[in-house]
Structure formats: C-alpha cells, structure tokens
Subunit: 369 residues, 2 copies
Amino acid sequence: MTAFEDRTRRCQERLAEVGADAAVLFPSTNLFYASGFREEPMERHLFLVIPGEGDPAFVAPEMYDDQIRDASWVGDLRLWADGDDPMAVVADLAAELDLRGGHLLVDDTMWALFTQDLRETLPEATFDLASEVFDDLRIRKDEAELAALREAGDLADAVSVEIRELGEEAIGMTETELAEEIDRRLAESGGEEVAFGTIAGSGPNGAKPHHRHADRKIQRGDPVVLDFGAYVENYPGDQTRTVVFAGDPPAGFEEVHEIVREAQQTAVEAVEPGVLAEEIDRAAREVVESAGYADEFVHRTGHGVGLDVHEDPYIVEGNETELEKGMVFSVEPGVYLPGEFGVRIEDLVAVTDSGCERLNDSPRTWEPL
Amino acid sequence: MTAFEDRTRRCQERLAEVGADAAVLFPSTNLFYASGFREEPMERHLFLVIPGEGDPAFVAPEMYDDQIRDASWVGDLRLWADGDDPMAVVADLAAELDLRGGHLLVDDTMWALFTQDLRETLPEATFDLASEVFDDLRIRKDEAELAALREAGDLADAVSVEIRELGEEAIGMTETELAEEIDRRLAESGGEEVAFGTIAGSGPNGAKPHHRHADRKIQRGDPVVLDFGAYVENYPGDQTRTVVFAGDPPAGFEEVHEIVREAQQTAVEAVEPGVLAEEIDRAAREVVESAGYADEFVHRTGHGVGLDVHEDPYIVEGNETELEKGMVFSVEPGVYLPGEFGVRIEDLVAVTDSGCERLNDSPRTWEPL
C-alpha cells in the first residue's frame, strides 16, 4: 500500500468517526495528500470523491487522464470532455455510491463555483468542511514529511545568509529588486517554487506586516524585514529575519529588535508536548507586553506549516490544541511602529518527544554579517 | 471618481438588474477590480461587501488597515483582531445594511470555509455567484486594460524569441531548468510574476496538455511545448509555441505542426464582432478534424484573459456569447499523440471593430531561430 493509499484509508476511518458519508475534494493539498496527484485550483470541474467505504474515484477533464494515472494510485477515473456536463458525471457517481442524500465534507478551499454546483446537483445532501477529517490527519507529520521540511528550512537559512552578505551592495536596490534576487537564489539552490510572495519591507514599509515589496530603495540604516521560503519536495520553508545591510539603524530599533528576539526565544523554549498552542502565543506576547509594546504586536504568534504554508495548529489565543510530537509551526512575534519600522523574527519548529527542534537556524541578529 | 469606484457603481447597477441585494467578495480579482486592493486568498476572514446602494465596506483583519487604505478608495473598514470573531463583525454589518435575509452574490472563487460561515451567520440569506454581475462588466476591456495586455503580450513574445535562440544550448537542459530560465527572463524583462506555472514539455511530455516540467532532459530533435507568460500591470501574458531547439524532429511532427498552425490561423481569421464564441472553436476544430486528428485535439480552443488568466469568454462548443469589441481571449488549438509528442500554438487576440488584433506575434514556426 502506498503512503497515499494509507492516508486515504485513515481518512475513511475518520469519516466514519465524524458521521460523514464522503469527502469531496477538488485540486488542493488534501487531494494531493490522499491521491498523490497535485494541481492548482482551476475553473474546470475536477473532484476526488472518497466514500466512507470502498475505493475513491476521480471526476476529471479527460485531458488529465494520463497525468492522474501517472501520479495517483486511484484507478477509478470518470472523465468528461469539453462540451460535456461534468455535473452529470458527478450525479451518476453520487447515485452509484448512494451519496445523493449524504453528509458530504467538501474541501475548505473549494470554490463557491463548485459548492453551488454540488448543492444544485445534490439538493438532498448536507455539507460541511473536509478539514473535519483532514486537519487531524495532517497535523502530525511523519518522518518523510519532516525530512522535506528540514530541507526547506536549510534552503531558506542558506539564502538568508547569502542575501545578508550582500551588505553594502543591497543599499540602493529597490525592495522589488531584492525580492527578485531572493527568489532567484531560492530557485538556483533547488527550491521548487516560492512558498508565498517574498517579503522585503524596508524602513516604514516593514511596519506593514503583510507588505511584500515595492519600488522603495533600501537606504543605509534601514531595518529590512525579509520573510521568504521555497518548496522542497512539496513542503515549504518560511523564515523571517529583520536586518540592517549597512549603516546605523534608527533610534529605538536595537531595543525593539532585542525584545522581539527574546519573545521568539522564550516562545520556542516553551514548546513541548502537552503544552497548549495558545500558551506559546502567550509566552511570546508576555515578553512584548511587559516591554510596553502590546498594541504593536498586531498578529498571532504563528501558524502550522505542512503541505499548506498556513494550516493547523494556529498559535493564537483561544487555540487549546495540545501540542504533540510531529506538529510543525512557525514562531514569529513582531512589533510594528507605523511610519518608522517593523521587526519580525520567525523560525519553524517541530515538536519532539521532549521539546522542539528548530528547522531554521540562521543568525537571528540584525547586524550586517 | 476613480476607475475603481466607477466599476463599483456599475456593479451596483448590475446588482439591481439581476435582483440581488449585495455582492460579497473575498480576496479575488473581482475585489481588486472594484476596490483597487489586491491580495491572495488566505484563511483569515477578509470580505468586501458591496450593497445595491450606498457605499461598500471591508471586513478585514486589523493588520490590513494601512494596506487597504493605501490601495483602495473604499473608506469604510470594519477591522477585527486575531482572537476576535470575524463573523460577528459580518453579522453586524449585514444587520446595518439590511442584508440578513438578502440575496447575496459571493465570489465564484470564495472558499467553502467562508461560504459555510456566511450560510451559518446569515441563515435566512440566499446565495448565488458574483460572476452574475462581474463577468459582464469585466468581459469588455477598456483602453488601459488593453494597453497592459499588449505589454504583457510583447513581453512573452520577446522571451519566446530569446529562449528559442538558445538553440544547441537547450539540448541537455532539463525541462525544469528550461522553465526556470524562462521565468528568470520574464522577471528580468519586467514581468511582475509568472501568470501560471510555466510549461516546458519535451518529447512525450508535450503530449500531456497540462504537464508543466520535469527532470526529463531535452534531446536533439525533441518537439518542446513552451507555454508561459507574466503579469504586466496586473494583466497576464499567455503564449504557446512548439519548437525544436536543434536536430531533426520525429516522423510526422512537421505535418502535425502545420495542421495546428493552419487551425490556429483559420480560427484567428474567423474572429470579428457578432461571431459566436463557439464558432471560433469550430473553425479551429474543422481544420484538425479534416486532417484526421479529431480525437487528438482534447481541449477547447481558448479562454478569455483579463485580471484572471482564465475568464470569460471561453472558446468552446456551446458558448453562444457574441464576440464584441474589447473582448480578449486565447486561440490555442493542439494535437497530442500520447507517447510521442504534442503540438500547441497559442496567441491572445483582442476583438476590434472589424476583426481582431493579435497580442502575440513571435514566429509560429517550429524550426530553430
């Protein structure tokens, strides 16, 4: 049995546990996790139906015939051609599997275009989200997954060091040029594709937590938030350092950087099996709050990382998930001073038997390397 | 009034025409089209609610405050912090706008995660798709949009020629290395980001229409399908050529290439206002069919291109949309011989007063340049 088939069988066990009749997936990381076939969401109808018992089946455009057979262990393909009605194929499959009045779990990221079609084609069915079965399967990574995540971490670390070694060369580059340089090096070092839009936020742009990059030129003394990663064997890296390429940082920066570094260190040290996800958030937040920057730490402390760059467990107040061995997530406190600068430091960590393993370990200092 | 506000007002007129009470958008090209704010889908709740009358409002994570204000003309922001319940904010807004029992049009690409939340929070509302109003607005491009699409076409053409000039140098490169080279050149020539995963399918891999690239090394005489483009000012390029870098192609390739070239030319010549979208598909298909390859042309002839790489009008049997000035779409017939090779030739075209303008014009030959 392949790893993919094994995961599908465990999905079927979970379907029974939660009282659902089938999972209906579309191109997503859940679909890859269960089938081995990977594709981006698109406007063509492509579903993987995993019934509670028996074998799963694809409904797919016929042009995907070879690709699905090459990639997946699933042998039951119901193909449709351009001009056909794909929902008629779905209706037939639902009748065959006795799912017309079933309780169906659809992919959390399934487009409304398709959920509306499913509701119209199967008016007696009820719908909920596939995360109900997949999140619990995917939250604990196996050894192969951890190996890929380690590689992705090493890649991000290596590029982080290379980029910081630009030093004076980075002064005068635009943020966009710097981001392109990062992306080029990630690709050249073996990254499959960037895991998310690379962030290079300089000076006041660093104070916007999800700013990516713009045509602002990097100046001497600018703090620059560098947040990036690339996929290795389908698993992403995600690492942040806040650095100064050359010159003296603005007043107050060193203090804020040290607060964020300490918050990050404290939170990482708090990670071990049995601790609640929200306690890691609190560990970071307490350091930042007691330094007087409570209102400037405007986001949660982290997010799980796996096939999706953002997945369970979220490291946020209110998440009472108990940490377990094999869980992987980011620890990334930040402080943002609008109009001045921002500081964020982020590593991925994997929970171990007794604590955690950092998947990133490039220098967390701000000074030029 | 900005172009974005003007589009929102036209959206409101269309809402009244179709009998809907509001559009509820999430990070999508519709949201950008109406607001000027661009973001990728993500697991945090971010909505733009456009009621039939009055001003639209964002519901957004508070960390997006500055970014939305910088990018959008929409001034009404309802912010929530990590740990808050974003759907409570949505419930309040819906009550204020009298939308609790309304007919709401959600983004076609909105994740089930959010449509399920909307259905739970607004159990008396009914739901349909926002394409009902946006497709008709977006299908005809204005001059600014056409200018961006022309630039994106020129960029793809230029990189196509550069890559083909690699000639002997391409022999021995893997498909992945070639795709990375294409992506690098697209970025260096001013592309904002690739419009879709670059396709470099060599030999038998070219016979899989949506194969991207793999570690197969390009050999002398291999036909290679090259399909790529990059965004320029938010509008994408999308162009395909099937080429031989060096050496003699396999038996039968020249004939198939000529059939596809003629099918593409015939279809482009058929484009003019008043013709139906499906007639363009038929024009291409008739050439391929009469040459005996009906079953090897396994996809539609094209798709509209605008803020989305795939949008209306689709060039497919059954689409009776009448072509109008300003519509932009791909014309891309293909013939795929499993285990041997594939051929596809694709240009974007813009419908004009009396015919069409090709937005791509690099050589459609297969021979080394």
